[in-house]
């Protein structure tokens, strides 16, 4: 059932490409249909998966000479992320309902990207995973370069090159692991069983982990993320923050930690408290959390605030992975889901609901527009999304970050302290953005009121309401009843930590 998410998306992309030009409505409805069908399959697969471990979906010979299989399988982690992809895909299409320029191509690239993302989450053959991972790069470039805004060609090229460099590192690690294992199979299970020597894992792990973590926005390789997010059209920035960064984090977990668990072993020497790759990456994650939050605090562009907040929140995911304990890694997967939903919502509000009406994202200009009064829907939606992003109880972010912090405390207490600072700054930048964009103190003058009257913002449309409801509702639902996800994640994490991917 889950495999159909991939096929539907790619078939949809192909059909979009050949649909008659100039019929934007048809293209939209078709894309929405495909995305909803994909989501239904994802939900179906998710529900079926309760109480099951890893389920092999399909296993066929692909390149017999090299032992490469077309092997799709799903465990709890995969199912959660596939579900996230389905939700983000539907929401992204709802928020790009007003794309009029080359609509067919937009949705063709969009669905191709989604197909690649589904593929990564479901692949259990390292090679297949890599193929899907690379398939996702090219559509991103075109989505940003053609339909983007601020410095779009620069942002798009930067993102494409960062992604490609990251995947080149992964490819080198993949080739090395493939030849070192001598098992003539690229299945994740076979490679994990191959007993790769510790010395090999010691250098291959950081290579592969960094390669994936570039896409997860790990400091100091995060700089593609803010520029890319800002340049991207709304739907693309929703996908970038919502699922594409998760591809990186998922790769770190599944391939990095899953295949090379001994790469995290202590070196035997330690300097300034750093004695293993685990310490190195945890340190980078913590820097990312605090640095991202601090930079977000200083932005004058609304979308940059969200862009840097993504860097900060993805730092939590990486920190959670580096705790290497049950609760921390569970929290990391939870945070992937939660951040996917919340970042998508934030980008949708900033990029679609606000920007498409005000045509500015500068706080200085937004302050004079009195948006709380003129766009109450946007203001309320942002209050909800901001609250969720801060990690207040009742929303998904709370459950996720709490688990990561507990896990980090169990591993190294100072990680928790530093990450806690990041949370506090997170509250500050969210409040600042909220206040500057929507609730400024300036009282409108009579002249301004008159001007406002003459220039009313376009009314809020149904796709926007549906999209906000979908995303905010999901975050609330997960926040109130986290077992919905935890029941899937926990056994999968347990299995993964117990013995790599075995």
């Amino acid at each position: 059932m889950l495999a159909w998410t991939i096929y539907l998306s790619f078939a949809g992309a192909l059909i979009e490409a050949v649909l008659p030009k100039g019929k934007a409505g048809l293209a939209r409805w078709f894309a929405l249909t495909i995305a909803v069908l994909g989501l239904l399959h994802a939900v179906g697969g998710y529900v079926q998966g309760f109480g099951q471990g890893r389920v092999t979906i399909i296993d066929a010979q692909w390149v017999p000479a090299m032992g490469i299989h077309y092997l799709l399988a799903a465990d709890g982690i995969s199912r959660v992320l596939v579900l996230l992809t389905g939700l983000a895909a539907v929401a992204g299409i709802l928020f790009s309902w007003n794309v009029e320029h080359r609509t067919n191509e937009f949705f063709a690239f969009y669905l191709a990207l989604i197909g690649g993302v589904y593929g990564v989450f479901l692949s259990y053959d390292l090679f297949l995973l890599f193929v899907f991972y690379e398939i996702a790069i090219v559509p991103k470039y075109f989505l940003i370069a053609i339909w983007g805004s601020t410095r779009r060609e620069y942002g798009a090229m930067k993102l494409a090159l960062y992604s490609f460099v990251g995947s080149a590192m992964v490819l080198i690690g993949l080739l090395a692991a493939y030849t070192a294992s001598g098992s003539h199979s690229t299945s994740l299970v076979a490679l994990a069983h191959a007993g790769l020597p510790v010395s090999f894992q010691m250098w291959c792990f950081p290579l592969v982990f960094t390669g994936f973590a570039i896409l997860a926005g790990m400091w100091p390789f995060h700089t593609w993320a803010p520029t890319g997010h800002v340049a991207a059209p709304t739907a693309a920035s929703m996908l970038l923050a919502g699922v594409v960064m998760k591809l990186g984090a998922y790769g770190c977990l599944r391939v990095g930690i899953g295949l090379f668990p001994h790469g995290l072993d202590p070196w035997g020497v330690s300097y300034l408290g750093i004695g293993s790759w685990r310490d190195v990456f945890a340190l980078l994650a913590v820097i990312g959390i605090v640095y991202g939050a601090l930079v977000a605090l200083a932005q004058t562009d609304f979308k940059f605030v969200i862009g840097y907040s993504s860097v900060s929140h993805m730092g939590f995911v990486l920190l959670g992975l580096m705790t290497l304990n049950q609760i921390g890694v569970t929290g990391a997967v939870m945070q992937m889901f939660s951040h996917g939903i919340i970042a998508g919502l934030l980008f949708a509000i900033v990029g679609r609901v606000v920007y498409d009406r005000t045509h500015t994202r500068q706080f200085a200009e937004l302050e004079t527009m009195h948006l709380a009064r003129r766009l109450p829907f946007a203001a309320w939606a942002f209050v909800i999304a901001g609250t969720a992003s801060m990690g207040l109880p009742g929303f998904s972010g709370f459950v996720a970050e709490l688990q990561i912090l507990i896990g980090a405390w169990m591993a190294r207490p100072w990680w928790t302290v530093a990450a806690g600072v990041g949370i506090v700054i997170g509250v500050a930048y969210t409040w600042r953005a909220l206040q500057k964009a929507f609730f400024s103190d300036a009282v409108p003058t009579a002249h301004e009121l008159e001007a406002e009257h003459g220039h009313k913002f376009a009314a809020i449309t149904w796709p926007e309401i549906t999209g906000v409801t979908l995303l905010a509702g999901t975050s609330l639902l997960v926040g109130l009843y986290p077992r919905l996800l935890l029941d899937q994640i926990e056994p999968a994490v347990k299995a993964l930590l117990a013995g790599g991917v075995q």
Partner: protein, 510 residues
């Protein structure tokens, strides 16, 4: 000397030569009054028919030996390369139909077929003299093809540069061959390799190095490896499109087939020898006591290839970043691709893994390059320029052509699931499977990093085609045959990429 055997062994070449005569006679005797379009179509189709006949002959041909020394091989890697040469030649002939740069149609097709015959010969040759004759037949034909656009100054200039460089490199090659013959007393590749290990070559090591360097220079020119690459950008830029496509594909396939023959003869040097001579040779090879360690042909050859490969990968990719002409860009990218393949040749396995991987790479690269030049040729005819800006707004002017360009360039960049990606993966896996240790691994890492660089310049072209606005929105018309060929190539790139085992098992099973 058995002429029946010789005839049977050269059946593919003979078929092409017969086709040459048929084309020339048909064009000059029967179609003198016909319209140019008809002449082009008839000549190209006759040429394709000749290729088809020759392709059939490739499967039926056998090896040819003289006095126990193999002169021409057949089947295996040779068969694959020959079949590839013929298919790619046929594709360039079909592209010729829509190109229209000359009125001397019969002559052009005849020269193309002769060049292909030269390619077939060097793919099969196991003897220095036959190799040289085949190379000269190929090279001379290529010079003529480059100069074929008589009204274009650029074409003449390109041909002159190509000819001067080519003549020089042929001289180097022949000089190297003569040294090799002097040292070993044989012109047969296998005998030469054996003699280098077992006979008096020990005392002639410096001379051998000179010979190897000269030969590497000559062959490095053929595959446009740095530092013998200078002709490539000019030739690719000036030659008529079908000729440039031929140089980029068929000539490369033939040259790499030759390099594979040499590498295979070096790695299989003791096959079929008695144990005693093999042991002696290995003792000599490994060096005993105070004697210098001397590894015969392979060690210096590997070193030279590694230098070529590294220089080609780095310089080709970096120079391509700065190009504004798409043809020159393709030339530098061809240099880079040659660098990857030379890496595969430098770390050549005794098992067929390397041979198969290099053939896979060169065939898929040749196919993609023909398509890429086809697209460039179409755009150039419409806008009169091959600059990057000629591609502006291509997606609006001709969406199908833009789609073909997208597929081909992404394949060249090595994006899965297109065939170029599998070619790279196969090749790098073959390199790593041959030799463990940091050197091959670092070189592969460099190659992968460089292919990440290459994405930038391929995207520069695609950005013009898809992202930026057109200066001129007029639809771009393409000759239907050209379009069909290009779409077929793009489809093949996608299908072979999605099912990589197809091409792999075909190569392995030939």
């Amino acid at each position: 000397m058995n002429y029946i055997d010789l005839f049977r062994a050269t059946l593919p070449e003979t078929a092409l030569e017969v086709a040459v005569l048929v084309v020339v006679i048909a064009d000059l005797a029967f179609l003198r009054k016909a319209a140019l379009q008809t002449r082009v179509a008839v000549a190209a189709l006759l040429g394709v028919a000749g290729c088809a006949a020759s392709l059939w002959a490739v499967t039926a041909t056998g090896p040819y030996a003289l006095g126990g020394d193999l002169i021409l091989t057949a089947g295996g890697a040779t068969g694959v390369a020959q079949a590839g040469i013929l298919v790619l030649t046929a594709l360039t002939l079909l592209l010729f139909i829509g190109a229209g740069f000359t009125r001397n149609v019969g002559e052009y097709v005849a020269v193309v077929l002769m060049a292909a015959a030269g390619g077939l010969l060097i793919a099969a040759a196991q003897d220095l003299l036959v190799i040289f004759i085949g190379l000269e037949l190929l090279s001379l034909s290529l010079y003529i093809m480059t100069a074929f656009a008589k009204h274009s100054d650029k074409s003449a200039e390109a041909a002159m540069k190509y000819y001067l460089f080519g003549g020089m490199s042929a001289a180097f090659l022949l000089f190297g061959f003569s040294y090799l013959y002097g040292i070993t007393g044989s012109t047969n590749l296998h005998q030469i390799q054996l003699a280098i290990y077992t006979q008096n070559a020990m005392n002639a090591a410096p001379m051998l190095y000179v010979a190897i360097v000269l030969i590497a220079a000559g062959l490095g020119f053929k595959v446009a490896a740095v530092p013998f690459h200078l002709w490539a950008p000019d030739t690719y830029e000036g030659a008529p499109t079908p000729a440039a496509a031929f140089i980029a594909s068929v000539s490369k396939v033939a040259s790499f087939a030759l390099l594979i023959s040499i590498a295979a003869s070096a790695s299989h040097v003791f096959d079929g020898q008695s144990v005693a001579s093999s042991v002696t040779a290995q003792v000599i090879a490994a060096g005993t006591g105070s004697r210098p360690v001397y590894l015969g042909f392979s060690a210096p050859w590997t070193l030279i290839l590694v230098v070529f490969a590294t220089a080609s990968m780095v310089l080709g990719n970096l120079a391509a970043l700065a190009q504004t002409s798409v043809r020159r860009l393709l030339a530098y990218s061809a240099i880079a691709h040659a660098g990857y393949m030379l890496l595969g040749l430098a770390f050549f396995t005794k098992t067929p893994v390397s041979t198969d991987a290099i053939l896979y790479y060169i065939l898929s690269y040749g196919l993609t390059a023909i398509g890429a030049f086809g697209v460039v040729g179409v755009v150039e005819r419409a806008s009169g320029s091959d600059k990057l800006d000629a591609f502006l707004g291509l997606h609006k002017r001709n969406p199908l052509l833009a789609g073909v360009l997208l597929v081909l360039f992404l394949s060249l960049a090595g994006i899965p699931p297109l065939v170029g990606f599998w070619a790279k993966f196969n090749l790098f896996a073959a390199v790593l499977s041959d030799a463990a240790g940091p050197v091959p691994f670092l070189l592969v890492a460099l190659a992968v990093a460089m292919s990440a660089v290459s994405l930038y310049y391929y995207l520069q072209v695609l950005k013009r085609a898809y992202v930026m606005n057109a200066a001129d929105d007029a639809p771009l018309h393409v000759h239907p045959v050209t379009m069909a060929v290009l779409v077929a190539i793009a489809a093949a790139v996608v299908v072979l990429g999605c099912f990589p085992a197809l091409l792999q098992s075909w190569i392995a099973g030939f």
